[in-house]
Symmetry: C2
Subunit: 219 residues, 2 copies
Amino acid sequence: MVKQVRAARTRQALVRAAAEAFAHDGYARASLPAISRRAGVSAGALHFHFPSKDALAGEIESAAASMVEELTAHCRSTGGSALGALVAAIRRLVVAFAADPVMRAGFALSGDSARDGGTAVLDVWHGWVRDVVGRAQETGELTDDVSPESVAGAVVAATVGFEVLGGRDQDWLTTEGMVEFWACLLPRLAAVPGPPDLARVLEAEATGDRGAENSMAGL
Amino acid sequence: MVKQVRAARTRQALVRAAAEAFAHDGYARASLPAISRRAGVSAGALHFHFPSKDALAGEIESAAASMVEELTAHCRSTGGSALGALVAAIRRLVVAFAADPVMRAGFALSGDSARDGGTAVLDVWHGWVRDVVGRAQETGELTDDVSPESVAGAVVAATVGFEVLGGRDQDWLTTEGMVEFWACLLPRLAAVPGPPDLARVLEAEATGDRGAENSMAGL
């Protein structure tokens, strides 16, 4: 049992170290010895858990995809406005980019055309955004003169770009400009002035992450 | 003279081949022999023009930065609405992503955190977008309740994301969803219903690239 806990911790340390190494050196240049050194784990232990760099990348992608699923499920479960859920999810994603190298590496790997991998993380995120915008259309929340597909495309493209720009300049992840922008924009795409709970979600988000956590849990 | 023309052509072929190789294999993995083969040029000729892969990357970035400068200067010179110029520039950039591997590679290199390079292309694009949105604010074109910095940030993040997503799936570059979205969105950020020339620019853009070229030249 103790052994299993230790193995899970080692595995987690390796995933995190790999995510940091990929962010710093790029997937192609990051080396397995550098990753095991960063994790404080022997080369043998790394090989025991992950036979290849590609296996590490796959684990990062699947961890990030799970985080996106959890984050979006939480935002959807708050009920009420679909556009409100979208704004809340964008904000949580941006906070995760700043705080969690695995989330950022998952997005980067998923968008890396040089890697013969899946696009799991992007697919999960794009799928959810498409669904929630579609829901906004069905319920008459979305204005008629914009297509749900193009709103979803712009949101996904912007979040991908945010992750890329944040890798070069942390200011992109600390300033809340983009979140502020979407929080301003999405209600403008609403067919009618947002329902009361949209206003509440936006207000909750604006009070900061901890505040948002609490307010949203109470919705 | 003939020799100079040939040298310029060889240089151009190498830059294009390198851009394609970077897009296909990533900067770190693309090899100089593969680039010279792709360009149909000897290894010696490649080395004569570009002593290193980094020199090739620098040339791509500076070519892409010049193209962005040209494209934005053209959109600004059409006069009239600042938001109209922004919509026109976004459209032209997306068309360039689809048509020109050098433009796409320039953006990708500029955003690649694993490369110790400049951020020339992104700096030029972000600087112009910031200027034009600032101009919209000064002239009272932009609504009061959104900050110019956050509009500029979202536009730049979305264009970067569009390039990344287009690298994995060409549909992102052929569908006009994102352009449609910005063309719909930006007038919504206008303080007052757009001035007549904004409507004309949007209409011109909607008639297709060649149509837009003609209409805009005539503005």
